[in-house]
């Protein structure tokens, strides 16, 4: 699966956030979507996930057979900025959401969720309440939830925005480990994450179309 953007324009209210933007995002690749604050990274990610309609241009997903389709949230697991979690529930419960929403049996879902927690390095915190986890741990739980959902695409919006340097490093290692598993796009202006990515797409005006 790959994602193609052709001459896309995006509007936030009456303000043009992006005009004539084109890019391609390949499967099994970690792409950093870069740009300064306010450059429209989140808005573009939302459009790429099918949550927003572009004001102009087209966004298309291509299956492995080359069949095009419009983007849809049903194919995307989204890791938001900050920590969206069920704070009173355990880390495992939070990751189970991803697995259960794809129709797995409970036994299967627990196995998948546990594997996802191991993959992001927080399996030892599986039974801890989310409210007791650090920001970095919560962010890794969010990635585990996305992995467990079996969605072919993962978008992460500024995942290190509220993290300290150590947590950012740990998350970068997680992303490096995940980069060959999905079509993975991380909106960020963090140099550590950009370094971890295989490719980068910049939203700086001079870089549009690259």
């Amino acid at each position: 699966m790959r994602l193609s953007i052709e001459e896309v324009g995006l509007r936030y209210g009456k303000v043009d956030v992006l005009t004539g933007f084109s890019a391609r995002f390949e499967d099994h690749t970690l792409t950093a979507l870069t740009g300064p604050s306010g450059s429209g990274k989140t808005t573009l990610l939302a459009a790429m996930a099918g949550y927003l309609q572009p004001s102009s241009g087209t966004i298309r997903l291509y299956s492995d057979e080359g069949q095009p389709s419009p983007p849809t949230p049903a194919l995307v697991a989204w890791v938001p900025q900050g920590s969206n979690a069920l704070s009173g529930r355990t880390a495992l419960d939070n990751v189970l959401l991803g697995a259960l929403s794809s129709g797995r049996t409970m036994t299967d879902a627990v196995a998948v969720a546990t594997a996802a927690l191991e993959r992001v390095g927080v399996a030892h915190r599986a039974g801890a309440a989310a409210k007791t986890l650090s920001g970095g741990e919560l962010q890794r739980v969010a990635f585990a939830r996305a992995l467990a959902s079996d969605k072919p695409i993962i978008f992460a919006d500024e995942p290190t925005a509220n993290l300290d340097a150590d947590s950012t490093d740990q998350l970068a290692h997680v992303l490096e480990a995940l980069r060959s598993t999905r079509l993975l796009v991380v909106a960020t202006h963090d140099p550590i994450l950009i370094e971890a990515a295989q490719t980068a797409v910049s939203l700086r005006p001079e870089h549009h179309g690259h």
Partner: protein
């Protein structure tokens, strides 16, 4: 429209884990549901207690005691004994029967010139035990029957009667059974259930009496300006569970609005808006169910202190339904909002 493959059993498990979890915000609603469920019924019990006190006071003052007699003293009336005694067969009539002021007699234990009233056993059921009834003002209450003697030497088994309300006026007399040969007298008295509507029953009772002579009239022993039972049945306080349900539903909406970050976790990891709405609906149903269960348990515990337990239960259940409906209406937009804006809204 986005879709997911949540199994209903797993979604129900999520509902239980979100609500029945002391660390979660909906747990606060659960606590509120119990307080409101029990509190609403406690309030109903307090109102019932106030009504019971008022009825007891009004009963002593003659409430719901109807005397039937001649409309015009110059045109005496005779009321058939059987028709008067049979008024007890009508729903809402506690006891009824003929009365006849027989005479006055001198008793060794009670003094001289004590009035003696003859009455039907259907009006004073204790007469069926073969005793005469001594008015409570004539002799202190006693645990056992005693032998009452007239100054002429006649002996009879006697029992001190409990205090009778105004309208029966037998606290200072000795009541004896009507003789079998007495088939009519000039007065019939009916004691109605305290919750009965005397204004509705009186014409029915009057029509059932067989009379001879002049016209009869029904006279209530007491005519309060406000019927406490009617006032109780139309009291605004009975709708307190509905108001509590409304408040609970609004509180549910507020709590759910403080959980947008949690709902974003569901939506952004593959849960559809429809499943998220179902989740919130089921959570609200569980909370409303707890308030209904608490209310029903309180009614079962306090049923003998509540005047109208069935009606109270119905209103409590309507209160729970109000909670659920208000909670849904106060929440329904949240799962259908853009999932990304939900994630930012915290």
């Amino acid at each position: 429209m986005d879709t997911d493959r949540w199994r209903l059993t797993h979604l129900v498990r999520e509902v239980a884990r979100n609500v029945l979890n002391a660390r979660s915000r909906p747990a606060l609603l659960l606590f509120l549901a119990v307080i409101f469920g029990v509190g609403g019924i406690g309030y109903a019990a307090a109102e019932s207690h106030a009504l019971a006190n008022q009825l007891a006071a009004e009963q002593a003052a003659g409430r719901n005691i109807i005397s039937f007699g001649a409309l015009d003293p110059n045109e005496p009336v005779l009321i058939d004994r059987a028709s008067c005694d049979q008024l007890t067969e009508i729903a809402g009539v506690t006891r009824a029967g003929l009365v006849q002021l027989a005479t006055s007699r001198d008793f060794l234990q009670l003094g001289t010139n004590v009035p003696v009233l003859a009455a039907s056993q259907t009006l004073f059921p204790a007469l069926r035990d073969g005793v005469v009834l001594v008015g409570s003002a004539l002799r202190p209450p006693a645990a056992t029957d005693f032998t009452l003697a007239t100054t002429e030497g006649t002996l009879m088994q006697a029992r001190v009667n409990h205090a009778e309300p105004t309208g029966l006026n037998t606290n200072s007399v000795v009541v004896v059974p009507l003789t079998p040969g007495t088939t009519s007298t000039s007065a019939c008295i009916a004691v109605l259930d305290q919750r009965a509507d005397a204004s509705l029953l009186t014409p029915i009772l009057t029509a059932r009496l067989h009379t001879a002579g002049g016209q009869i009239v029904a006279q209530p022993a007491s005519s309060p300006a406000i019927d406490p039972v009617k006032a109780y049945l139309s009291r605004p306080g009975q709708y307190v569970p509905l108001i509590l349900g409304l408040v609970g539903g609004l509180a549910t909406g507020l709590v759910n609005r403080s959980r947008t970050s949690e709902l974003a976790a569901y939506r952004l990891s593959g849960t559809s808006a429809r499943s998220s709405a179902l989740l919130l609906g089921l959570e609200t149903a569980l909370i409303a169910g707890v308030t209904a269960t608490s209310a029903v348990a309180a009614i079962l515990a306090l049923h003998d202190r509540i005047q109208t337990p069935l009606a109270t239960a119905c209103i409590a259940l309507a209160g729970a339904a109000t909670w659920w409906l208000t909670g849904i209406l106060a929440t329904i937009d949240i799962p259908f909002r853009n999932a990304i804006s939900l994630a930012k809204d915290r």
